[in-house]
């Protein structure tokens, strides 16, 4: 039993080296901290690893046998390592001798923390331990229960696992995995890989993805906040994010909303750092994360794509980015996600959950009170969106006076409006079942916005 869970851990870790190597390669301006690179590397490593496996299966006909996964995990370590060597004339081998001093240094620094910082950290860890235990208990004891899990994400994973590949025969009742065929396969193929690693398709193993996404999000979020931000604000912001009730529920649900929210967060926050002068590496990381968001959920194409195009146009107009970098960034973005885009085109996949061939604008006025209630009044997000609204109203000048914060605010509001407009103003919103979940995808960004605003507004308030 314990061995099975260790195999799951191994299966998740196997993509980390290639991911770290990729981030190391992207970070040409040496702008990113080790913690940030460590966890974002894990994220993009997994995405790339699974996308390669998918491409090997659908374009080259390789069955999803363990060796295909191992080769995919290992091959790009050398590929990205070679490119790093071309740039730096050295290969970033892990130096294990540095590990213990690194840990010691951080433990030592803990002693110098302020009293409130220590209390906040203990509280964060304590509440996190309760949340993780609760979710872990559900995952290991309760079979797949939530609608989209047994109807789509897990069903497709099970079909692909049992057939050792994606069914491409139109006569197959589970053509393209069954369920909603347009759903990207990042999450499902990760579940196939976990089942392959353990040797059996069981809910208690494959549903661990929800908890993994939750913890990865928190780690990336914490390490994405800059060192010059008050440590107390960083800890409180991470606590705030970890405690969002709907996010906690999704840590035990086998859905992809948290996964997508990580890509969305990294894509938008990286542009924020780029504008704040943290270096061009963040600009390229933004494109990479945006590319993988398309591999995670259709919202990547429908929601994030227009925002990224608009941001690019504004950056060019403001001369914040050279044309060469703009071109290269979009080139690498398209190159990264090309296998999935080609597949989408070949198999004529819809852009939305259902039929997206028709798209009418209507005013679903009867949804308006419920959308407002979902975002502001129910417990889904605690008082997060009320605080965001209050900061935006009372400290608009402060936000507007900072270019990077202004960008973050506009991006957040644009995403919020686009998301909720689909529910309020199109005939694609059949009910309100997605209203809270789509706003959940923006929650990490909203907490980050709040943290930067609080730092800027109250930073001097001692």
């Amino acid at each position: 039993m314990t061995l099975d869970y260790l195999q799951v851990l191994f299966a998740l870790l196997i993509a980390w080296p290639r991911g770290y190597m990729l981030i190391y390669l992207v970070d040409r301006t040496k702008s990113m901290t080790f913690g940030f690179k460590f966890f974002v590397g894990w994220l993009v490593g997994l995405a790339g690893f699974l996308l390669d496996v998918f491409a090997a299966n659908v374009f080259s006909g390789f069955a999803l046998a363990p060796w295909v996964f191992y080769i995919s995990a290992a091959m790009q370590i050398f590929g990205f390592g070679f490119l790093v060597f071309v740039f730096e004339r050295k290969v970033p081998y892990p130096n294990f001798k540095k590990f213990i001093p690194f840990v010691k240094k951080h433990l030592e620094s803990f002693k110098s923390w302020g009293r409130w910082e220590k209390i906040a950290l203990v509280f964060l860890l304590l509440t996190l331990a309760i949340r993780i235990s609760s979710s872990l208990w559900v995952i290991t004891n309760i079979p797949t229960y939530d609608f989209d899990a047994w109807n789509n994400w897990n069903l497709r994973a099970k079909v692909i696992y049992e057939q050792s590949g994606l069914p491409l025969d139109k006569e197959d009742p589970f053509y393209l995995g069954g369920g909603i065929k347009s759903y990207p396969l990042h999450d499902s193929i990760l579940k196939v890989w976990l089942a392959t690693a353990v040797g059996q398709f069981e809910d208690r193993f494959i549903n661990l993805t929800g908890l993994f996404y939750y913890l990865l999000l928190l780690a990336i979020f914490y390490f994405s906040l800059p060192q010059n931000m008050s440590r107390l604000i960083r800890i409180l912001a991470t606590y705030a994010l970890s405690s969002l009730p709907l996010l906690v529920i999704h840590s035990q649900a086998a859905y992809s909303d948290i996964l997508f929210s990580i890509y969305l967060f990294v894509a938008i926050i990286s542009l924020f750092y780029f504008l704040a002068g943290a270096g061009l590496s963040f600009y390229y990381l933004s494109g990479l994360s945006f590319a993988f968001s398309i591999w995670a959920k259709n919202e990547g194409l429908v929601i994030l794509f227009p925002v990224m195009v608009f941001a690019s146009l504004v950056f060019v107009a403001m001369r914040k980015v050279k044309f060469r970098d703009l071109f290269l960034n979009w080139f690498f973005t398209v190159l990264t996600i090309l296998p999935w885009l080609v597949f989408r085109f070949m198999y004529k996949l819809d852009f939305l959950s259902g039929d997206s061939s028709t798209f009418n604008f209507v005013f679903n006025y009867h949804f308006l009170p419920d959308v407002i209630s979902t975002v502001f009044l129910r417990s889904h997000f605690n008082i997060l969106w009320i605080l965001v609204l209050a900061v935006a109203i009372f400290r608009f000048k402060d936000i507007w006076s900072s270019l990077s914060l202004r960008y973050l605010f506009i991006a957040l509001m644009a995403l919020l409006i686009i998301y909720n407009s689909i529910i309020l103003f199109t005939d694609k919103a059949l009910d309100l079942s997605a209203a809270a979940r789509v706003n959940l995808q923006l929650a990490p960004l909203a907490v980050a916005f709040l943290a930067f605003s609080v730092q800027r507004i109250f930073g001097r308030m001692k």
Binding site: T127, I130, R131, S134, W137, V138, N141, I142, P143, T144, Y145, D146, F147, D148, W150, N151, N154, L155, K158, V159, E162, P173, F174, G178, L236, A240, S243, P245, L246, V248, I249, H250, A253, Y255, S373, T374, F376, L377, R378, S379, H380, N382, I383, I386, L387, A390, F394, R395, L432, S433, A434, A435, A436, R437, F458, M461
Partner: protein, 369 residues
């Protein structure tokens, strides 16, 4: 000054307004059903969705022989201005889910506040339901009480009362509602219903305080006041968080009690009763790759859940091809021992075969020979 405020608070709390006693009206008991008030009222209690529609005297109460999903319905008109609590005194030989359904004959909407689970006990139990909910804002047409049990149960109802709370009790209900947890349902992953107070999101009641704190935080000139406002806001966040942690842990407890701890035949999962046990039964008795003709009564989700649970077996909803048939909770189908066929009411559905596994009389797997 402080002592005066304290004194005023004490006087206010113990003023007649707050200590007014609760009033109540009995609407169901042996005595009440024989009283002239009831007999002359022109309306009467009815038993629905049950084989036996009569009630029998037993001890001091009335016995309901419950098939498992019986409804007691009473055409009574009242709003929460008249009564804001319903109390049922009963005993049962099976665990029960009791659900109060206002206007059961028309809209029949209900929420988690009106649904409660009670463990198996032959002791006399009092089940209390607050009616201070939007459903009861306008006078009702009727009220239904659903007694749900996984197996047939004998429920002895001693009395049912409608109670008008005192203001103090209503204030207490405010806090009870805040900490009242719901059950994990298929909607939970999309919408969290709790915490609610009197049927509305609790935030509605706290919003004025939150807005006041935000105004102090952003507009007050004194840093000390700003800091206090910030600390209270953070405390409010933490308090809401702790409330929701309590909610999530209660989901764990409910799952443990209904699904993890019980023996295999007694396991039920949330609102899908024993369907997951049935799915396991199908998976264990039908070879991989076979088609399963599936017939069910209940949730429209069942065919798709079954498909996920038993893949690589293929589910044919309402199909008639292939050797295997699975029937879940569907009393229309029965096995005829004379010709070994399955009949739907009086019409034969299958060729001759045998029942290869069963969960209960209405949930079984049949294989054509």
């Amino acid at each position: 000054m402080k002592s005066k405020i304290f004194l005023l608070a004490i006087i206010f709390l113990f003023s007649p307004v707050f200590v007014l006693a609760a009033t109540e009206a009995e609407i169901f008991s042996q005595q009440y059903l024989q009283s002239s008030d009831y007999l002359n009222s022109g309306v009467e209690w009815g038993v629905y969705n049950n084989t036996e529609t009569s009630l029998y005297k037993k001890d001091e109460g009335l016995l309901l022989r419950n098939d498992g999903d019986a409804y007691l319905v009473y055409p009574i008109s009242f709003s929460y201005k008249d009564f804001d609590k319903l109390v049922i005194t009963y005993s049962s030989d099976q665990p029960l889910d009791i659900n109060i359904i206002p206007n059961v004959g028309s809209t029949a909407f209900s929420t988690y506040e009106l649904r409660k689970k009670f463990p198996e006990t032959n002791e006399v139990v009092q089940a209390e339901f607050s009616l201070r909910l939007p459903f009861f804002k306008s006078p009702t047409e009727d009220v239904g009480i659903n007694f749900y049990s996984n197996r047939p149960s004998e429920v002895v109802i001693y009395d049912i009362k409608l109670v008008k709370n005192s203001p103090m009790e209503t204030a207490g209900q405010f806090f009870r509602d805040y900490f009242n947890v719901s059950s994990y349902s298929p909607f939970t992953v999309n919408l969290l219903p709790t915490p609610r107070i009197f049927g509305y999101s609790a935030m509605i009641y706290f919003l004025p305080i939150v807005i006041l704190l935000l105004l102090l935080l952003f507009l007050h000139p004194r840093k000390k006041i700003k800091k206090i406002a910030l600390i209270i806001l953070i405390s409010f966040w933490v308090f809401t968080d702790l409330r929701m942690i309590y909610e999530f842990l209660s989901y764990n407890v409910q799952d443990y009690q209904s699904y993890v701890a019980p023996a295999e035949p007694d396991k039920t999962l949330r609102n899908y009763a024993d369907f997951y046990q049935f799915s396991n039964l199908v998976r264990d008795n039908v070879p991989a790759g076979e088609e399963v003709n599936f017939y069910n009564f209940g949730s429209g989700h069942f065919p798709r859940i079954l498909q996920y649970m038993i893949y690589p077996r293929i589910v044919k909803e309402g199909g008639q091809t292939g050797e295997y048939f699975a029937f879940y909770n569907f009393s229309d189908f029965s096995f005829n021992e004379e010709d070994n066929r399955i009949y739907r009411n009086d019409e034969p559905l299958t060729e001759a075969g045998e029942i290869i596994a069963s969960l209960n009389d209405n949930s079984f797997i049949f294989k054509i020979k």
